[in-house]
Symmetry: D2
């Protein structure tokens, strides 16, 4: 793991767990999204502000591999790396790892595109410095 | 579309929409899950009951292609088809289509496995009649 | 119950249930909100449109009495009545009843106020015809 | 504010905000619940474990006063105090305050009761040391 990998640490909240006693599948996307927005904000890209300006960073594909399930009271990290995929496309590569044992719970690849107010693909120059060449 | 395709009709609820004024990405997984559980129940497989019996139908992979965004007040269908992938594996192939124009909003492929109380892969014989050979 | 009571019929979704196997407490507020927005829309008041125009109908108090718990697969009605409380204040009186036995699950009283773009109380003339004198 | 007031610090997540650009009303109950469970756990009462043992701590009434709205990127504290109301009844008195200005966002009073597996009121002796005489 690179030393400078961006990650946040969160904790399972009981209301995020479902009948099965584990975190509901859809909630992992909440975790991933929150980590992405924190990542963008740490890079000085404020998601809510971009939205207010009419620039939408839109997810076009989400690939989620569920490895193990998070349970009540567990703590976990959510990492974020961003890869350039095309001129207006990028992908977030993310992992959720239970702590303190660092066990992999979920691998996610979230692909997106910038859209302007008219819903047309739109280069978001502010993203460029964040993108690794894949 | 096959005449006997299983689908449910739902309606966007305002609280499911986020800052961008559209349904939040994670909510589509809620829609897909609800449709799957209705499908299983229609086939006489009660998800909550299976869980109570210690059999967990666990999602191991979700691939979601976001085509367009649902907005407040829109109505949509969520379809469910189930494919056999291996001895203990299956996949749900699902589509979310806005109504009444039937425009495709999301394509999902949700792969899963049956697990018993010990977390070991487990054939769920009740599923077999539901599975199309892929 | 008045013949013309506004109500909608919904169904519990498994992801709305928590570790206790019942609908999570916070989810009832989702149900109530959805019913209020449908009520307003039925009365030709579009909540999302009002928001876009800078008029916010803001909840200032919620009083929720939890009588019984909804469980997976149950169907229920959510009713809405609106009372005038003051010049810029109103209250929604709501009930959630399990069907088909009509058993009372929750009684709610949601008090609100109209606010304009500057966050000041604001008469919403469109609401007046909807308000019963309490 | 008492020096020993129990409180946790959280941060608004963008997906918790709705069309109005503020935290959705129902989400505050999630915050309050999470703080209560953390409070109980800090006092060595594990909510998930109690549930597994068939003891349900059930909310019977929630009174929520919405003072101001939390917005994206804001940090806030959620406090918890517990009062004895009757033999099997108690109430959580809670406040949500934006930080760092400590502005009051929401006051909540959540009343509850212990129920056993048969749904009958049940003294939860483990709670007694936590209860202030109101």
């Amino acid at each position: 793991m690179a030393e400078d990998l961006f990650q946040i640490t969160l904790e399972v909240r009981d209301y995020e767990c479902d009948l099965q006693g584990i975190v509901n599948n859809s909630v992992y996307q909440n975790y991933l999204e929150h980590a992405r927005h924190k990542f963008l904000k740490a890079k000085k890209l404020d998601f809510a502000k971009l939205t207010a300006e009419g620039i939408h960073l839109v997810v076009i594909k989400a690939e989620l591999e569920y490895k193990k399930s998070l349970k009540p009271n567990e703590t976990f990290t959510v990492s974020v790396e961003m890869e350039k995929v095309g001129r207006v496309r990028w992908a977030f590569v993310q992992e959720i790892r239970r702590q303190p044992d660092n066990e992999l719970m979920l691998k996610g690849r979230i692909s997106g595109v910038g859209l302007n107010q008219n819903g047309r693909p739109h280069v978001v120059p502010e993203l460029e410095p964040l993108l690794k060449q894949a």
